[in-house]
């Protein structure tokens, strides 16, 4: 009897990065390589906001790839990030999402760690004395310093915390690059953030689909009625697409207009000419001095973070992959320390547009699920088409383009050697 003929279909046969094979979204071996190279390799991954850990000993659990980490404020104000995995028997010992600690103790054998992850002590290390005789204990050469928790490198920028398992990760500034850094500075530089809260959703699609979604300026004015109708994002706006020199990070920048009918709404079924809000407070936009023009900047920091400024709503969106076919998407909304009470209320009202129930963002989760369904039903031999505005990769001064998606897959392909 012949065994079914199986050939690994993970060879990238097309030139460039304008056709993305379905296996890039579905293959479990590719997914493992992504985890190793991007999430556990020389990249900075987002783990949280400093505003979540205001005081010494405050900690929260977070993720780098699929690995759970503990993010904890140190006595000197710095932040430590370490893997939530006991050095003894591998127990993921910390179970509180958030808390305040003086030390961390694994419940299984009471191994105790300092807040920086160093092993502080363990029971019966010297054995137990009985009748003048020492029984058991760890070997004489047991090295406490070699058996702490796995510590990650930490980068702090503007109230954001990033971590990396790799010694080869460049400095945060070099990692982000000079093209994207000014757009981070615009939001974060010299400001103190306040935490408004966290929302979580599990999206049954490949994690890269969410990165693509925020590198895709084509869809918002078509899929999202609110964006096209109220002029929050549509093709007749002044826009720029920026990316770093590797094509991995990007910023979609635009300036809102008055909405209403124009050539870009002709035949667009999501455009609702006669739509008006019953309660305009949902979209009570007040420009802030720091905008300096753009009303929206959507930043993708490969591989794990999206930063959103859409009018007065600000959030980080953390991508936590969970196998090739799903990821958790964690939204942390924030404001600034000097916000008035009215501005805080405004940010919270506009939060109704975003997140798992958002007037706008709920669409994205749904469409990503349907994309993954499409890949799955076809199998590995299909590919997505990504050729709006050509097949190359370059920044643009408009939004009628898929260049940022091509940029990311160019980088992805090169880094994975595909």
């Amino acid at each position: 009897m012949n065994a079914p003929h199986h050939v690994a279909q993970t060879r990238w046969t097309e030139p460039g990065s304008s056709r993305i094979p379905y296996w890039a979204y579905t293959d479990p071996d590719i997914y493992q390589r992504e985890l190793q190279h991007f999430f556990y390799g020389p990249h900075w991954c987002y783990v949280g906001l400093e505003a979540e850990l205001p005081a010494f000993g405050d900690y929260r659990l977070s993720f780098v790839g699929e690995r759970q980490v503990i993010v904890v404020r140190q006595r000197d104000g710095t932040i430590a990030v370490m893997e939530n995995r006991c050095a003894h028997r591998g127990v993921r010992f910390c179970q509180q999402q958030r808390g305040k600690a003086r030390s961390f103790v694994c419940p299984y054998h009471q191994w105790t760690y300092k807040l920086n992850g160093d092993l502080a002590g363990l029971p019966f290390r010297q054995g137990v004395e009985r009748d003048g005789e020492k029984q058991g204990g760890m070997p004489a050469d047991f090295d406490m310093q070699a058996h702490g928790l796995v510590k990650l490198r930490v980068a702090r920028y503007g109230g954001l915390i990033f971590a990396s398992f790799s010694d080869a990760t460049p400095s945060f500034e070099d990692y982000i690059g000079p093209a994207v850094m000014p757009w981070l500075d615009r939001i974060f530089k010299g400001r103190e953030l306040t935490l408004l809260g966290v929302n979580r959703q599990r999206i049954p699609g490949n994690w890269k689909l969410m990165m693509e979604n925020i590198k895709d300026p084509y869809h918002p004015g078509l899929l999202h009625t609110w964006f096209v109708t109220f002029g929050l994002w549509r093709a007749d706006q002044r826009s720029r697409m920026v990316m770093d020199e590797h094509g991995r990070h990007a910023v979609m920048i635009s300036q809102r207009n008055q909405g209403g009918a124009s050539s870009v709404t002709e035949g667009v079924t999501s455009f609702k000419a006669d739509m008006a809000l019953n309660d305009p407070r949902l979209l009570d936009v007040v420009p802030e001095p720091w905008w300096n023009g753009p009303s929206v900047t959507m930043i993708t920091l490969f591989p794990s973070l999206i930063i959103q400024q859409q009018v007065n709503s600000l959030s980080t969106r953390h991508i936590v992959p969970a196998g090739p076919g799903a990821f958790d998407f964690i939204w942390t909304h924030f404001g600034f320390k000097d916000d008035s009470e009215e501005m805080t209320q405004r940010r919270l009202r506009q939060a109704n547009l975003f997140g798992p129930a958002g007037f706008v963002s709920a669409d994205d989760g749904e469409v990503i699920e349907l994309s993954q369904d499409g890949f799955r039903q076809r199998g590995a031999d299909g590919s997505t088409l990504c050729e709006l505005d050509g097949r190359g990769v370059a920044p643009t001064e408009h939004m009628v383009t898929e260049t940022l998606i091509r940029g990311m897959y160019g980088y992805w392909r090169k880094e994975l050697g595909l």
């Binding site: 935490l195 809260g197 019953n278 919270l348 939060a351 109704n352 798992p356 007037f359 669409d363």
Partner: protein, 157 residues
């Protein structure tokens, strides 16, 4: 009609509320609320920590109607059935004649032709006012334990 805010009235109210949403009669949903009512869906993590962020926070009939318009006309989503199971309310009279109430809920989601899933589990934290038309909600806060939303939440809970 007996307009007293008693246990039976609140439980009847919740049964009608569930029937309204489970049959998809969203246009009738604002009638359960006072015109300036507050309706929120908030994760337990935020609620317990005193953080204000909700996944949905609507103030007054206007915003409730904007949500209904979104459900019917603007929110792209794969349609699903909802099935609410609401427990007996725990009620507490207030000095002003209103009452506060809490009731556990479980909402199951079923896509047509699909399997049923436990979609969202939590409790309603309510503030009721008596009106000639029966009890009305001044406040309904849905505090959900299911902190990981199964993709998107379109319809009210």
């Amino acid at each position: 009609m007996n307009t007293a805010l008693d246990q039976a009235a609140i439980d009847r109210f919740n049964a009608r509320y569930a029937a309204c949403l489970d049959t998809g009669d969203f246009d009738a949903w604002p009638d359960f609320f006072l015109p300036d009512a507050t309706y929120k869906i908030i994760g337990r993590e935020n609620y317990d920590a005193g953080l204000p962020l909700c996944i949905l926070a609507l103030e007054g009939h206007g915003m409730l109607r904007d949500r209904i318009y979104g459900i019917k006309n603007t929110l792209y989503h794969a349609p699903y059935y909802q099935r609410h199971v609401i427990g007996t309310a725990l009620i507490e009279p207030e000095s002003d004649g209103g009452i506060t109430a809490q009731a556990n809920y479980a909402v199951f989601r079923t896509r047509p032709g699909g399997v049923s899933e436990v979609f969202n589990v939590g409790r309603y934290i309510d503030r009721f006012t008596a009106t000639p038309d029966g009890p009305k909600l001044a406040v309904r806060i849905c505090v959900f334990d299911s902190e990981m939303i199964l993709n998107s939440l379109i319809y009210p809970l």
